[in-house]
Subunit: 190 residues, 2 copies
């Protein structure tokens, strides 16, 4: 199975190395991992961002599945680019798998970053008065239930590993899920 | 044209009212706007979050287009649920339109929230040492270029309106784009 490896891993100082490790884990389980930085050589062009977009979209088209790293990134939710890619793959009918190295609920994640309070109408609200989604899920319900219905439930560790950006145990659990489920979920093939 | 109205607007204290205003603007331009809270009556169920997911996905399936509110939400990027929906609609081949009431570049948005610096290897990095995408785009390149290639470029005001959550001028500009482009972009119909 060809698996697109989505995540803010590409923003790490050792982005290339972590992509290599992820692809290696895929190979150990009989799969092929496609990592966005595999196309890095072409990124020097003046229209670099458009080149990256097109190569990532082409990689997603050629993949049967996505494993998205939904560990919170610069806020309580996952990286926006990764979330876009998860949505795109769900829309294309591909197998959707993901993990988060932070198992905290979304409401708790928000509460770690800013004051939350109960409004007079009973809503849990943030400092700006906007509702804080409170379903006990680790992130926005759209991603969490997309995984439930278009692949397999979000994988989280029982507690956050010491190095949330380099611990690949939950990633490897996703790779294992790609095997058996593939037979039951043929995916979208053109 | 049937347009799915995605955005963190559903988290506003006056979420129902802003949905009504958006649907009204759609109607004025000959379109039908579908707003996630149109299904609010059924949300009292114990499996409320799954009910919301299923009704939002059904709404997206029935729509020809999406107008996503990508105004930054609890961080430098757009709301994760909205971004998922934009990706899903792009994957389904629907017309993708979006606006952000904050025209600042992503790098500037990050710099407003935390210290950014140039690393010894030349990368712009945040306080955690993670690369800050710096293409002069308002948000992650995946969403911005998805709009360029699957719909119309992100609509932003020349400067942020006083009330970023209630000003609908850029939303209305998206509705106007839905008209003429619909003929050139027949979309995915099943």
């Amino acid at each position: 199975m060809i698996i697109y490896l989505a995540g803010p891993d590409v923003f790490l100082p050792d982005a290339v190395e972590i992509g290599r490790r992820k692809a290696e884990i895929c190979a150990l389980h009989g799969h092929t991992g496609l990592y966005p930085l595999d196309n890095a050589a072409s990124h020097a062009a003046t229209s670099a961002s458009l080149t990256i977009f097109k190569s990532n979209e082409a990689m997603m088209e050629s993949a049967d599945a996505i494993i998205a790293n939904l560990t919170p990134f610069r806020g309580p939710s996952a990286d926006a680019g990764t979330v876009y890619e998860l949505g795109y793959m769900a829309g294309r009918g591909k197998l959707c798998l993901a993990y988060s190295n932070d198992p905290a609920s979304y409401a708790n994640r928000v509460a770690r970053l800013q004051q939350v309070a109960e409004a007079t109408d009973g809503r849990l609200i943030d400092a700006e008065g906007l509702t804080v989604e409170e379903f006990g899920l680790p992130d926005n319900l759209m991603m969490i239930h997309a995984l439930d219905l278009h692949g397999s439930p979000l994988v989280t560790p029982s507690e956050a590993p010491q190095d949330i950006w380099h611990d690949l145990a939950s990633f490897e659990a996703c790779v294992r899920l790609a095997g058996p489920r593939a037979q039951r979920f043929p995916g979208f093939t053109n």
